[in-house]
Symmetry: C2
């Protein structure tokens, strides 16, 4: 429904003036006399006139809508990102269209096709697992080729030439590991996914650098690589915690952290004394699990705002300078799986 409301034409007829006059009056043009303006605005108010946004968009050649395509909306992080984008968008009177890909490649392609039929002025995308796994990027590269405003965030793809918003994973992994070592931990373990995954790679790099720079030995046996099979992961983690004598763990997934806790409890290890744990991607679980888990998470709100800002810049100026990647500082929330350190503030939520 394009508003069953009254149109300029109808109002013009009622007031016996031209359509242009009505239009100008409503837009408070200086060409129109006070009395006329008043007559027009009064009538408009009376009939609850709303400009037909479709017609308006047709003239301006833009939609005032941006599209957001993400794997999954059900996380605090996404909620915050959405909030951040909303903030920047409403400032500019933009609306948001959303597609959830559920991490499926086909769904992502369809979503992008659907939204780029002229429905949106630009796109903010976090890639699906399948897309990344299959390395099929043509649907995204096509956008780049067409000069279509595109910003990626979170699950970004290096191979795609566009603006990006990421997180300083390497640094925070480095810092976290350093902190653990400095606090006296002798055997810091690492729980990561396949070495192909962006997060895991950066996380491992930070971890290794930190160990080396702090005089610890890098022991590959303390690095556990998990896979897709959740049940198998549980067993792997259980065996790992039970046998490696780790006194600290850095994990890339809060679910891994939880399994580690369960194993530790089974082995009568106290947390955080015998085993201290920090997880990346800490969300609802890290916060609500008991013991609550110290987590390094992205500041979703800032990520969202930054992504939106970059996108609007692109929309305004399509062919501006080269593409930018901005890393937003992560936030570490110290919870029950950590010693409270002088560095950090204790979080209870």
């Amino acid at each position: 429904m394009v508003k069953s409301g009254i149109t300029l034409k109808e109002m013009a007829y009622m007031l016996d003036v031209s359509i242009a006059t009505v239009s100008k009056a409503l837009n408070d043009s200086s060409e129109i006399s006070k009395p006329t303006k008043l007559r027009v605005t009064d009538l408009a108010k009376k009939h609850n006139y709303k400009r037909n946004i479709t017609a308006y968009n047709l003239i301006r050649k833009r939609t005032s809508v941006i599209g957001i395509i993400v794997p999954e909306i059900s996380s605090d992080f996404m909620s915050d990102v959405f909030d951040g984008i909303t903030y920047e968008a409403s400032k500019r009177k933009y609306k948001l269209m959303l597609c959830q890909t559920k991490n499926k490649y086909n769904s992502e392609v369809n979503s992008i096709n659907a939204l780029t039929d002229g429905s949106v002025d630009g796109l903010i995308v976090s890639a699906s697992e399948q897309t990344i796994g299959r390395k099929k990027y043509s649907h995204l590269n096509d956008l780049v080729d067409e000069n279509f405003p595109l910003v990626m965030f979170d699950k970004v793809i290096d191979a795609i030439d566009c603006d990006k918003v990421g997180a300083n994973i390497f640094e925070s992994s480095y810092n976290i590991t350093t902190e653990l070592v400095k606090s006296g931990k002798k055997k810091v373990g690492l729980l990561i996914n396949s070495e192909k995954e962006h997060l895991s790679v950066l996380c491992k790099r930070g971890y290794i650098n930190a160990l080396k720079n702090n005089g610890s030995i890098v022991d590959e046996d303390l690095i556990l690589i998990l896979g897709k099979d959740e049940l198998k992961n549980v067993k792997l983690i259980d065996a790992f915690v039970g046998s490696r004598n780790v006194d600290a763990l850095v994990s890339v997934d809060e679910r891994y952290a939880i399994e580690a806790i369960r194993s530790a409890q089974k082995n009568n290890m106290s947390i955080p004394n015998h085993l201290s744990i920090v997880t990346f991607n800490g969300d609802m679980l890290a916060k609500n699990f008991r013991p609550s888990i110290t987590s390094v998470s992205q500041n979703g709100y800032l990520v969202g705002r930054e992504a939106a800002k970059m996108l609007f810049k692109r929309i305004k100026q399509k062919n501006s300078a080269g593409f930018i990647t901005k890393n937003i500082a992560t936030v570490t929330k110290y919870r029950e799986t950590s010693y409270s350190t002088s560095v950090g503030q204790l979080y209870f939520s």
Copy 2:
């Protein structure tokens, strides 16, 4: 960007035919000859022609967009609802605009105003807490008065005259309680929110009816009413579990269930033997907590699909019959806080 692509006009010029011919050819009109059609479609493909959807919408007087306004997107439930809506929407080539109110009244009002400027053909709304708390419904009632297609779901407001999709809370509370009693539980407790809350009211009603119909006594001391203050709730629940000797609990919030578990563990009560727990609104926590918590949850996907179907019916036929409320059956997932019963299937996720 309304697609930097080629227009009908340009193609018409290139092929030396009229705009109308190009249009008809692309729409596979029977008026156009085979050869012409081919010439046109070839050129269109070559230039990756996409119909300008804004112009199209202007003519059709609809937007092919529906708006969704919800308090918060970060739950499995919302994700599923969104998925269900998406399913019905894509069938009809509709897109989705989303607003998150974060449970704020102002945000809800602004969102509704923003989307009803002609940007969407209809609205699917779950009301914010503040809206419900303050009982300020004019922004919604205005829509109803304008005959604007509106469907409410989840946090529905009885006072608003529109189509609604809810859940059979009363029945499932009744059934759950009955099951507990029949399985031998003697003192079934109830954890609810203020008696004003829809869910709590229905839940209590089902609980009481079930007790009565199964020969149990209703003991008001076994009903704990929680409030807004989370810290206070924790204490209340702890005291309740420690003193009331309940052997089963029905909760309206998974967070309450978790606190009950912690108290039970403190008191060396084994779960589910000494204390069996079922929670409504079970989402990420119920699933991932250990012990995992038996939960009664809405089938988000079906709720979403149903809401969308109702909305599309309204959009198609604005002044059709009176408004309908449809209740979607809830799903009970038996987890570690329950005896596995013959009735239910055990869920591990």
